[in-house]
């Protein structure tokens, strides 16, 4: 673990140069979305349809979506860069660090980024009055898990793929998930096949659990299954990432 912390320190050193910008957008982003979607759009959505104010419905979904987005972004270009552009992974592998330390160190950094951004987001949700329970605090570790469940497989993809993959990744996976994984409307509105597909995504599981937490009525068993499912994705991602990093860096 100490070796992984050394790799983590590299990412923090890099982050120190840009943290102001990310904090600014982490504050601005929730304010804009909650105002437009929660307050603006919420005003024209009938409360009876959902059984709760639209703001209360959409806010925890947006929170989980931010976790996905940061998890995806931080494991795409930065990983590609550490292999192809500044080649920092090669520098690390000339030292006692091992491939597994590179993977863990980077994921620790992703966890940090997601943790900071979603904490700010949660504060904004509180300010908008859409938090109804102390259970809401549990959304932060949940969001970190959601972020990691994306960061694992995506960092594997970033290491493995030779060509441009990030455009299709964001256009055909991240954005559709954002639109259809139960953030803006219940997935029960989707046709049967798509609904089943939505249930299988880590994002829907994160959104659904986050919503139960902020509304203050989590179901223990359902929560457990959802967390276990996300952990499974995360574990699978770590496995994939180690394999892809090894394939690319140790030849």
């Amino acid at each position: 673990m100490t070796y992984s912390l050394r790799a983590y320190e590299y990412w923090l050193t890099v982050y120190r140069r840009v943290w102001r910008g990310t904090i600014a957008s982490s504050v601005l982003n929730p304010v804009l979305y909650l105002a437009a979607m929660g307050v603006g759009l919420g005003a024209v959505v009938k409360k009876q349809e959902l059984g709760l104010p639209y703001l209360d419905f959409v806010a925890p979904g947006l929170l989980a979506a931010v976790a996905m987005q940061i998890g995806a972004i931080e494991s795409s270009f930065p990983v590609r860069g550490a292999i192809k552009w500044n080649r920092q992974y090669f520098a690390m592998l000339a030292t006692p660090l091992k491939v597994s330390n590179l993977v863990t160190g980077h994921l620790l950094y992703v966890a940090t980024r997601v943790g900071i951004a979603t904490s700010i987001y949660l504060c904004a949700i509180v300010a908008f009055g859409a938090v109804h329970s102390w259970w809401s605090l549990a959304t932060i570790p949940l969001c970190i898990l959601v972020g990691l469940s994306f960061a694992g497989p995506i960092s594997a993809l970033s290491a493995y793929a030779e060509d441009e993959v990030f455009n299709p990744l964001f256009r055909f996976i991240v954005t559709p998930l954002f639109l259809f994984a139960g953030i803006f409307f219940p997935v029960t509105q989707l046709p049967h096949v798509l609904r089943e597909l939505a249930y299988a995504t880590p994002l829907w599981n994160g959104v659904d659990l986050a919503r139960h937490l902020t509304l203050g009525h989590p179901h223990a068993l359902r929560a457990l299954v959802q967390v276990a499912y996300l952990v499974l994705w995360f574990a699978f991602g770590i496995f994939l990432a180690r394999w892809a990093y090894t394939k690319r860096l140790v030849t």
Binding site: T2, A91, T251
Partner: protein, 309 residues
């Protein structure tokens, strides 16, 4: 030499990439304190060998022991005692010179205060103290190379691996790098380097191997190699058009070998000055040059090709 004494010990070392056998069963031992060079053209297998020694490329066959350890099982422990100067820079351009050194020292587990002090010493050693707080991006190629060398020294390594340390540098920058490497050698650090420059090999290496197609074509000190595979002197003849057809026998035993290059003829002889009038008389060359044999001539003899093509 017994395997126990050698810092690096290789027998039948092989690296296979698909159908390509990049390194084809090489044997060598490097004792402590030696400067050992791999000389050869691009694609000869030098970098593949270096990556195996750097424990980032598992051998496909044969034995490799570094500091008495197995690079596949104990890579991390070995790397803790190596300094690596890779062929392509792996500096972070967005960080400063000092930050690059510090983060690298941290990878080796140096404490913050330790690594700060070490960074100052190393920046001084490679003459980059004035640029300590500059980003890496705008530095010249020579400065980046020196920073990479400083970084490789941060853990006070027992062995330094240098993969083409001066490729792409201008002559002045190369001399600065050589000077620093020479000082390390004087301190007793073991240097392993690859190069395709003969002058670099002659300047720095106690012993070198000429590598071609994954194999060793010859091995020895630069002087031994020249003595064994070449004559004392070389007479180079240039012609305005195509060089005439010649053979070594034309000069009554004065010439032991002739190399025909596209633009010139090389006559290998022990007495260049004695040969010059004969060559002028018989071949009417445009120009004649008498020089000492170099490793380039050794390479030409061994492989039939010039080193940089």
């Amino acid at each position: 030499m017994a395997a126990g004494e050698a810092l690096i010990h290789a027998r039948g070392l092989t690296k296979q990439f698909g159908a390509l056998r990049a390194v084809d069963g090489i044997d060598f031992d490097v004792p402590r304190g030696e400067a050992f060079g791999f000389l050869g053209p691009n694609g000869a297998g030098k970098s593949s060998t270096m990556r195996m020694i750097g424990c980032v490329s598992p051998p496909s066959g044969g034995t490799l022991r570094i500091l008495g350890m197995d690079p596949v099982k104990q890579g991390s422990e070995i790397r803790a005692r190596l300094g690596v100067v890779p062929q392509a820079d792996t500096l972070d351009n967005e960080l400063t010179v000092r930050e690059n050194l510090i983060i690298y020292g941290r990878y080796f587990g140096l404490s913050r205060s330790e690594v700060r002090q070490r960074a100052e010493e190393l920046l001084d050693f490679v003459q980059l103290s004035e640029r300590a707080d500059s980003k890496v991006e705008p530095l010249s190629g020579g400065m980046k190379r020196r920073l990479t060398i400083a970084r490789a020294l941060v853990n006070d390594p027992e062995i330094i691996l240098l993969d083409e340390p001066t490729t792409g540098l201008d002559p002045q920058a190369r001399h600065v790098v050589w000077d620093r490497l020479f000082r390390l050698k004087q301190r007793g650090v073991t240097l392993i380097l690859t190069t395709h420059y003969m002058d670099e090999a002659e300047q720095l290496c106690d012993r070198l191997v000429v590598m071609d197609n994954g194999k060793f074509a010859a091995e020895g000190s630069p002087l031994d190699l020249i003595r064994e595979y070449s004559t004392r002197e070389v007479v180079e003849l240039r012609f305005p058009g195509e060089a005439p057809t010649v053979d070594a026998g034309m000069f009554d035993g004065m010439v032991s070998r002739v190399e025909v290059l596209p633009d010139r003829l090389l006559f290998y002889t022990d007495d260049g000055d004695a040969l010059v009038p004969h060559a002028h008389e018989r071949l009417q060359p445009q120009s004649v040059l008498v020089r000492r044999s170099t490793l380039e001539d050794v390479f030409l003899r061994l492989t039939g090709r010039t080193l940089i093509d």
